[in-house]
């Protein structure tokens, strides 16, 4: 391993990734200054008028700011919880299944929605929850008045979270299943010989065996607390559910790309990035502390 020539071509392989990172992640960071300017595209980011914290002041004056902050965190936290628990339970159940063929089939089928983009899925969901859609069909069958789900601000966050968990739980299940295979079968045998029931084996062998994975996934998802899922919400919301469904990302999109308020949108985006950065640092610290997860 002391052969320097050997190491060099590893660095060469790193190059495309680094170029990508610099071009698409680091250079655009210059644009952050727009948040402190009255950005004028004709003058560019170097000559636009500097207005300090004006954009941030206006941002906090807007009644929208509080709403979208709350919505973002609320939806994201629910998603994090749902995406941790549902796949975990499902993986544990699947793990107990004896018929391997069946297990593989189920695994593949629940994994499928993960590959569909929200653009398509949202179209399907709108139909499923439509006034004359299957869900309302079922409700009417049981004598309940049909509900216009996607117009109900009180239900919208749960529809969003529910559908997201449904879409992604197959994928997360696979991660847990992978962790489950790493548990030494000898432990199960020993437990069985000691007279442990199936439930006891689950409680004392399986769960402790994958705790690190659970903790790791939980901690890492902290960085996503401000990512409530732009593409999903953007394709599903409407003005009726802005009060509970509008998140930072959709707001930034509307302000910046539809209404040409570049500086204001940047300011909001910057705020989100700063908070996310803090959360990622915290989550990294926690991950290294509790799950022995280290990058550096």
């Amino acid at each position: 391993m002391t052969n320097r020539g050997f190491e060099k071509h590893y660095y060469l392989m790193l190059l495309p990734g680094m170029v990508w990172l610099i071009l698409f992640s680091l250079v655009p960071m210059l644009g952050i200054v727009m948040a402190f300017q009255d950005f004028n595209p004709g003058l560019g980011i170097f000559k636009s008028e500097w207005i300090g914290l004006e954009n941030f002041k206006y941002m906090f004056l807007l009644s929208d700011s509080k709403t979208i902050m709350f919505n973002t965190i609320y939806i994201a936290v629910l998603k994090i919880i749902g995406n941790l628990l549902v796949p975990l339970i499902f993986a544990l159940m699947l793990n107990e299944l004896r018929v391997i063929v069946m297990k593989r089939w189920i695994q593949t089928i629940v994994y499928l929605p993960h590959f569909l983009s929200w653009v398509i899925l949202s179209g399907i969901l709108l139909d499923v929850f439509a006034f004359k859609g299957p869900v309302n069909g079922m409700l009417t069958f049981f004598g309940v008045e049909p509900i216009l789900f996607l117009a109900r601000a009180d239900l919208f966050p749960y529809i969003v979270v529910g559908s997201d968990v449904w879409k992604e739980f197959g994928f997360n299940t696979i991660i847990y299943l992978a962790a489950l295979t790493s548990i030494n079968p000898a432990l199960y045998e020993a437990a069985a010989i000691d007279g442990a029931t199936r439930l006891q084996r689950l409680r004392f062998v399986t769960v402790p065996g994958i705790t690190t994975t659970i903790v790791l996934l939980a901690v890492l998802s902290l960085g996503n607390v401000l990512n409530a899922g732009f593409d999903q919400i953007f394709n599903m919301y409407n003005p009726l559910v802005y009060s509970t469904g509008d998140i930072i990302d959709t707001w930034v999109y509307r302000a910046g790309l539809q209404n040409l308020q570049f500086s204001l949108a940047t300011a909001m985006g910057l705020l989100k990035s700063v908070v996310s950065f803090v959360l990622i640092v915290i989550s990294y610290y926690l991950a290294s502390r509790f799950a022995n997860y280290r990058i550096f």
């Binding site: 595209p41 004709g42 206006y58 929208d64 709108l126 006034f131 509307r254 040409l260």
Partner: protein, 569 residues
């Protein structure tokens, strides 16, 4: 391998359908075709100075961004958006080469692409923009001053059409006395939203055409409850509403073509939300915060709660779908519904007899629609482009030669085309065609400058309109030539309400003021959210009063002052 390719194709085809299904309509371009034929006196060879149709000695290249229709299949094999009959005609006549630097599908995608071009200060030489974009670009100093170029190069035909708007078109592009873009001019018909109703359903249920909002509600109730489509299921919609992302009513920024909006119901209460009106003291007031709007909202709320308006308005992805499927009985839209969505509707059900009326009436028994600015699209030229006059030459050529083009290749492929139509095109065409049918005029009498499709229409009308000529019901039409049917049905059925007397209500302004640039989006969101919630029952009617106060507080008053200032000038 072949099979894989085939599947790929099918996937793409399906995707296209999905994409277009989501993306069509609402921004559907007004098909009211641009106007003006050859202005009789062919410009005689003028010396080099400023010839509106002059051919360049050395080739000039235009770099443009083009809005396209992804479903369009009208280009013949081998032709491209950059090389087709129109670009070749331009090359031949003007020695101008067309280079498309980007294209995006018309509507939202195109707007977003332009916004990105503005933000990154990477503009094509020529680009079509809307009012907000124009303002932003002028503010950013990205545009060339076209005042002189316009004076020198605009053809008499274009100058004539612009003059007919009584200064409205020029006002829209006037920034401190400079002309910063070329305004389009559309026919007045795009602005008037009329009531389209299934006459066959009315006849079946033995109902009269509803004249007032109350009668309208009664008819809608019958449409919902009495199974007009006869399938023994309660699956019909009384009145269609806007789709997701659509507008409940037009506004001063987007003042026309609000298909599936509820504008006529607001107008029947003399309520003009989204428009700037003259208040009692003569000062400008904002239409949305007037008490009449509350009355209209109360009625709409009542009708929605009773299930008379589409339950899924503003959530539905495509508002046209129930109309096409024969499940909706009433909707509101401009005259050109014969182009879209009615062709699909009658393909589905040849007896779907859609008729248009200038209704419902207000409390004075009059029809009082809001009117639009004739100019909502602008052709802008990048600052620093060497040949700003090319913009005018392209449009001169378009207006002069449009009648000679084979329009089976859609005119959308003409580079940076904006519409120039005489404001009364629809009404005049209808009148003339009626005279042709009556035998008092011959097609060849109708070669009138400005109305370039008139002769063609006159030639087709006798084949497409069946006797009796005074009845417009669907059974008196020949639908073999759908192209001709679309246009003539739009003119006869959609144009008829335009002939009736109406109280026109214009907005005091059709462009944004300075404060609006940063505050309007927020105010508009507040408004849309409140109105939708009131109509759909998610908020009490009283929240309207709250909205009025909030609106004023959140810089609405400041904006009003600015509008007063702007109107005074």
């Amino acid at each position: 391998m072949k099979a894989v390719k085939k599947i790929g194709f099918i996937c793409i085809a399906i995707l296209m359908v999905v994409v277009t299904a989501c993306g069509s309509n609402n921004n559907s371009k007004s098909p009211s075709p641009a106007a003006d034929s050859k202005d009789g006196n062919k410009v005689t060879e003028q010396p080099a100075a400023a010839d509106p149709f002059g051919k360049y000695k050395d080739p000039v290249t235009i770099r443009i961004g083009q809005g396209i229709d992804p479903t369009d299949k009208s280009l013949p094999q081998g032709d491209t958006p950059e090389n087709n009959q129109y670009t070749r005609h331009i090359k031949e006549q003007l020695n101008v080469d067309t280079k498309i630097v980007w294209q995006a599908s018309k509507g939202k995608d195109y707007d977003q692409k332009v916004n990105l071009a503005i933000a990154s200060d990477d503009l094509p030489d020529l680009v079509i923009v809307n009012d907000a974009q124009l303002r932003q670009m002028v503010k950013a100093g990205q545009l060339a001053d076209l005042s002189e170029v316009f004076d020198q190069y605009a053809s008499p035909a274009i100058k004539g059409i612009i003059e007919k708007t009584e200064g409205r078109a020029l006002e829209a592009v006037n920034f401190d006395g400079k002309m910063m873009a070329l305004p389009n001019v559309t026919a007045r018909g795009d602005a008037v939203h009329t009531m389209w109703i299934r006459q066959d359903w009315l006849d079946k249920l033995k109902l009269e055409v509803p004249k007032t909002v109350d009668e309208l509600a009664a008819v809608a109730k019958a449409f919902v409850e009495q199974d007009p489509d006869g399938n023994n299921q309660k699956d019909t919609i009384g009145i269609s509403g806007p789709q997701a992302g659509g507008k409940i009513h037009a506004n001063f920024i987007t003042s026309s073509n609000n298909t599936f909006g509820l504008d006529p119901i607001f107008s029947a209460y003399l309520a003009y939300p989204g428009f700037w009106l003259e208040g009692k003291d003569g000062k400008p007031v904002y239409g949305s915060i007037q008490p009449e709007v509350k009355d209209a909202l109360a009625k709409l709320r009542e009708m929605y709660a009773a299930g008379l308006i589409d339950r899924e308005m503003s959530i539905r992805k495509d508002a046209a779908e129930p109309v096409v499927a024969g499940k909706s009985g009433i909707f509101f839209g401009p005259f050109w519904m014969g182009y879209w969505p009615l062709p699909d509707a009658i393909k589905n059900d040849p007896t779907a007899n859609w008729q248009a009326y200038a209704l419902p009436l207000d409390k004075n028994g009059e029809y009082s629609p809001h009117m639009a600015t004739p100019s909502s699209q602008f052709l802008a030229v990048r600052k620093g482009y060497e040949h700003p006059e090319v913009a005018l030459k392209l449009l001169n050529l378009l207006v002069r030669d449009e009648a000679t083009f084979d329009v089976s290749v859609t005119l959308d492929h003409y580079p940076v085309r904006i519409v120039y139509a005489p404001v009364d095109e629809i009404e005049f065409t209808l009148q003339s065609l009626q005279e042709v049918l009556a035998g008092t005029k011959k097609p060849e009498d109708l070669n009138i400058p400005g109305y370039k499709l008139l002769v063609d229409d006159a030639n087709k009308v006798t084949k497409t309109k069946l006797e009796p000529y005074d009845k417009n019901d669907i059974q008196y039409w020949n639908t073999d030539d759908m192209g001709a049917w679309s246009r003539l049905y739009s003119i006869f059925v959609g144009g008829k309400p335009l002939m009736e007397k109406r109280n026109e209500v214009y907005s005091l302004t059709y462009s944004q003021t300075k404060t609006m640039e940063s505050r309007w989006a927020n105010l508009e969101k507040l408004e849309t959210e409140t109105f939708l919630k009131i109509i759909m029952g998610a908020a009490p009617l009283e929240s309207f009063d709250m909205f009025v106060e909030d609106w004023k507080k959140q810089d609405g008053d400041k904006v009003t002052e600015e509008v007063a200032e702007a109107v005074k000038k």
